[in-house]
Amino acid sequence: MDLILTPAQRAFRREVQTFLATHLTAEMRQGQMLTAGVYPEPDVSRPWHHALYRKGWVAPLWPVEYGGSGWTTIERFIFESECALAGAPVVYPIGVRLAAPVILAFGSEEQKRTYLPRILSGEDYWCQGFSEPGAGSDLASLQTRAVLEGDHYTINGSKIWTTHAHHANRMFALVRTANTPRKQDGISFIVIDMQSPGVEIRPIISIGGEHDINQVFFTDVRVPPSGLIGEVNAGWSYAKYLLEFERGTGLFSSRLRSGLKRIERAIDALEAADRHIRDNMDLMARLADVAIEIDVFEMLELMTLGLLEPGQRPGPTSSVLKLRASRLKQTVGELGVEILGPSALRWQDHPEDVLSVIVPDYLNSRAATIFGGASEVQLGIIAKSLAGV
């Protein structure tokens, strides 16, 4: 057992570093640095997506024959670590890491040919239609219906908390296609063209003052049957697959580390303005505590995922990772706010610099323990699956 890189791993790391030095522009780094939320705006992430696409590095988790990069988990870990360290934009994952695995596992050949290349190239930008106004953590109680009328499904209802719906041209959604005694048994997984008539988008402003999420309304929206993924009424199992995949394949530690790095830059900016943060032992002790948490989490992530084959799922320990990562994101954000101190009181009155992003990012991070499986849900999974109680 050791953490020493093999010659091949060292060479790979070097290749990633060289690629970053060549293709990652100052604008991209600046764009990522100023992102207060989970995903950067498309004008930040797209150019980077394209650079990775040209290199064949967009989709580490796809099979090679569909354009996957064919990496081991360790290579993916190295890649993510170097990208985060360099400040590369987060690759928008809804298509690559959420839609694609479901299409790969359950879609028809035609669906694979239609959707996957356009996800890979970045031509299509997806959003996820799961939550509804009346169905949050209790996803299965969703009410948006798709009714087969002649040669198409007609969709009516509403999705909420839909990230980047206003940028997306496609949505995958869970819709009710049957009323069954067990709610889970009447749900299908369907792809909706966001340009269809009857799709309306209402922006929702987040606690951090950003427009990232939306409510999406469907009024008699038509979707051809070719939009249905897999079997009708089997959508719940695909959604579970997706959620497990999402939880189990994320590498969060490197992005937590870049959050810490961003705070360091904020400290530099404050020091430059004569605020002596580095002499404040209380704040430095807090910083050390958070850095230590991230150090340990990084190891936890590596030892949980590092032995898995690509595509293999880590089981319930992934809930531990999700829980810790989401809390740590909040911890990092809170630390940033404490370090800003009185500077954090100015709301949207900073120039576009690192000080302008710390507070909105912290505020938005409160969503990290709510969306994508709330902490309460993860704790329930851990209790049942890991602790056996």
Binding site: L24, R29, A86, M281, V389
Partner: protein, 389 residues
Amino acid sequence: MDLAYSEEQLLFRQSLERYLGENYSFAHRRHVAAKLHGFDPEVWAGLAELGCFGVPLTTEHGGFDGRLVTTGLVMQALGRHLVVEPVLGSAVIAGRLIARVAHAAQRDELLTPLIAGTSRIAFAHDDLGTKASLKGGADGYRLTARKTAVLGGATADRLLVSALNAAGELRLAILDAGTSGVSLHPYQLLDGSWAADVLVQDVTIGSDRILGDGSDAGPAITATLDDGVVAACWEAVGAMQAAYEQTCAYVRERRQFDRPLAGFQVVQHKVAEMAVCCEEAGAAALLAALKLDSEGADRDRAVAAAKVRISHCGRFVAKEAVQLHGGMGVSEELPIATYFRKLLTFELMFGSSMEYRRRYVKTVIAARAHEMSAVLPAAERADITLPAA
């Protein structure tokens, strides 16, 4: 990078676990702690036969392994079974210190019986600022020292006493415990193990009784104490995991209000949080051991992170284990109270979390090392530069 234990490591752990399961019941442990000054010769011989005392030492030094990860597996098992015998003080700390400092003849003399279990050596170092002194020259020295909290000092046959020579450098003197002028005050520690205060009053020792070639032992002592901290971390992780597992079993079995405690959501979530803490603590211990096993590692970072985080996690697990056991947790009816004291002992030993946090600030934060991965080796990337953001 290799993230799996070797077959030998797993087999070794298994045989140690089996031995302790058969020979170290909680009742027996209580007897050893209360009546035998924390030392049962039969158990000591059994551990020697299994090879426990050779694990911390390389084959070059007559040992069997020499890696802290494998040493950690030993300590973890000892922690699970609440073993009070002075393995940490003798085999890990004294053993590795001798391996680092002694010349070959001394190594043979001291380590061979130590590994065989026929000699127990205690390292007498902490003198609360009273400054032990070693006076004299080539034809003999006079040693005066007042040492406190010497681990295993209650039952050691040999002492390794640190003292300052006239040049203000640290030397290590080898003393038989029975030497006239050496007096011991043995006492029990909070975790049930036994330590001693050692008083050495102007004792004459031959120059061959000074460990090594006459150079400063300071760096070796610092490094070895770090090893000791990491070994103690693994022991704490073992204790924590056992407390957690026994709590899981207890809440499944114990009924209140007509259902098992495990049927209460609040209990489920507490147990889940304990599971998360155990995972994290395990990762912290593993990271520290792997880093210290590497050349040129950042020892400050690895050791400080482990001590701080495992203290935090251990405190949480200990408290919840007691709380969930109710009255059974705050009495000697079950081992739970002992695990609580064990984990509190770990927190207090080798310095507090606050001190290690300060160490992290002074070394890691000051050097901005925390912006880099804690897991990946430092990269060779000096010639690659990123465009300024």
